[in-house]
Symmetry: C2
């Protein structure tokens, strides 16, 4: 193994000088810098991560806690994970993966042993058991999703309230007077996950403001057909539909078509879903960019690592993308 002292000898400088060349924490003459860099390349030197972590008290690794649960669309999670890793790399950090089931103990472990400098938690619940630890830990953290009480935490999520509202507003704009939101599986609501409630709230508020009648239904993806049938049976005059349930979108679509209704002629259909899905099915959608959320979360984490204090809550705007499941304006 080639170490910093080897590089120093080869370049004719002291080890500390090599270190300063690498970190840029003190000024170094151009000539020296060049010589050192050449030696580094010539010898193939790589700083030892552990030694670095020990001496500098920084591991340059962040923890990413991924959810295991059902009810969240796996491809979205994966996209966010990939985006987070890619983004972390651009800040010269690596990502240590933890699963939800490591729980509080896992967080204490990786933080307490200085394995990681900071923690990114995906899929936070309203009354998440990890909140107290995250507040008391000596390392910064960022949560993806909003708990009931975000005091003292940094949280980021899509603006589902706005997404729900945008659906209702656009459906109202299109002239529908009775509209429906088909949301997450019942289990997600029961668990008190914030995002489902927020979409619902936005949808209902905007509908009320526009004076259109709104109904909201949960939907288990395995029983999408039944959900669609029941909705139209109970509310036969619904003509505008918003769906916030990725795995069910496709089934709902064919279920509605199977009732003889044409889309967009008889029924307007908006999906709250990632672009790739909406694009594939050619659906008007509120896009929820997974990559951007992952990137943004890492950016906030890096802010905190740099000693700054980013806003406690960040809501990522989603935008309406018109495709062919709603009538041309």
């Amino acid at each position: 193994m080639v170490k910093i002292s080897d590089v120093a000898r080869h370049a004719g400088v002291s080890p500390s000088t090599v270190s300063y060349v690498l970190s840029g924490k003190r000024s170094i003459s151009d000539q020296t810098r060049r010589r050192v860099m050449d030696s580094i390349r010539a010898l193939g030197y790589r700083p030892h991560a552990g030694a670095r972590a020990l001496a500098s008290n920084r591991s340059n690794v962040i923890a990413l806690v991924v959810p295991l649960r059902s009810g969240i669309h796996v491809p979205i999670v994966m996209q966010m994970v990939i985006a987070a890793v890619t983004s972390a790399r651009s800040y010269d950090h690596d990502v240590l993966l933890l699963t939800q089931d490591e729980g509080v103990g896992g967080l204490e472990r990786v933080a307490g042993s200085s394995l990681v400098d900071a923690i990114l938690v995906m899929d936070v619940e309203m009354h998440d058991v990890r909140l107290p630890v995250l507040r008391s830990l000596d390392r910064p953290s960022v949560l993806i999703g909003f708990p009931a009480d975000p005091t003292g935490l940094t949280c980021v999520d899509w603006d589902f309230e706005a997404a729900g509202a945008a659906c209702a507003e656009y459906l109202a704009d299109l002239g529908h007077s009775e509209i429906a939101l088909i949301g997450a599986p019942p289990a997600v609501y029961e668990r008190g996950t914030g995002f489902a409630e927020r979409t619902k709230a936005g949808f209902q508020r905007a509908a009320a403001e526009r004076g259109v009648h709104a109904v909201v239904r949960p939907c288990d993806p395995d029983h999408a057909r039944e959900a669609a049938d029941e909705l139209l049976r109970d509310h036969p005059n619904v003509t505008g539909i918003a769906v916030h349930n990725e795995p069910a979108v496709e089934h709902l679509l064919s279920a509605f078509r199977a009732t003889g209704r044409r889309i967009p002629d008889d029924l307007s259909f908006i999906a709250i879903a990632p672009d790739d899905l909406a694009e594939r099915l050619d659906l008007t959608s509120i896009s929820i960019p997974a990559e951007e959320l992952g990137r943004q979360a890492v950016a906030l984490l890096m802010e905190k690592l740099d000693g700054h204090q980013p806003p406690g809550s960040t809501l990522l705007p989603s935008r309406l993308v018109l495709r062919s499941s709603t009538p041309a304006a």
Copy 2:
């Protein structure tokens, strides 16, 4: 921060004794062990990961390289990742996530800097550019998937050849004399990914052995209906179908039904797919257990870290699960 010397003082022993209690590398009297453990708990001591890595030359972290590409079913990847992390934890290791696009440089970086002790690579291609590095690196690695030349490498994968053969055999058993395999998207074949070819080879070999006529078609999930129609147009007498293409399964199913054929009465349908998908659609399937593959890969890696020499190639058997897309025997 509480360190090993604090624990030592509190327990009235030397730091090395504390270390040996923790590592078990030397015998320690029961009494001392108990006192030390009590002190550790009392003080909330956690060994510093960096210091440990520096002194012991082991980080207790493994790298996991995940694919970014299309053509592989995301939920399967996710399941394997989760299984790998969970499994690694059971060996007291953590997992550092790398993306495919870090490429050769990424492997050299994490290995060279001693950030990780070993590397797990998912989704290896036939002529993967990373093969030479993996062979020459000073840390052990395990590949999920088989390259063209696995010499000097440890590889593990599902036994797709056997899976393909099992499909053909069971369809022959059911009395079908003309059968088809609908495989991965064309891009996957073009890329020369091993698994697609191996399924095909097994299917064709077994069909030939049983004297039934076999056709094999690639399939882009976005054009499943066309694929189904073309197949039945070109080969109207096909009555047994195997599908090895998770995202397309559902579409293919409805496409075949849309031609007026009933499943299983007119058409036998076998999916090579993970259990949850096959279960949901109630399909007879060759199950490919993602978790087990992740676990097995980590187990092999740990073998190597312990200085053992596991077999160079491991094929995980898949089994036929009868459900209702084939006629009852």
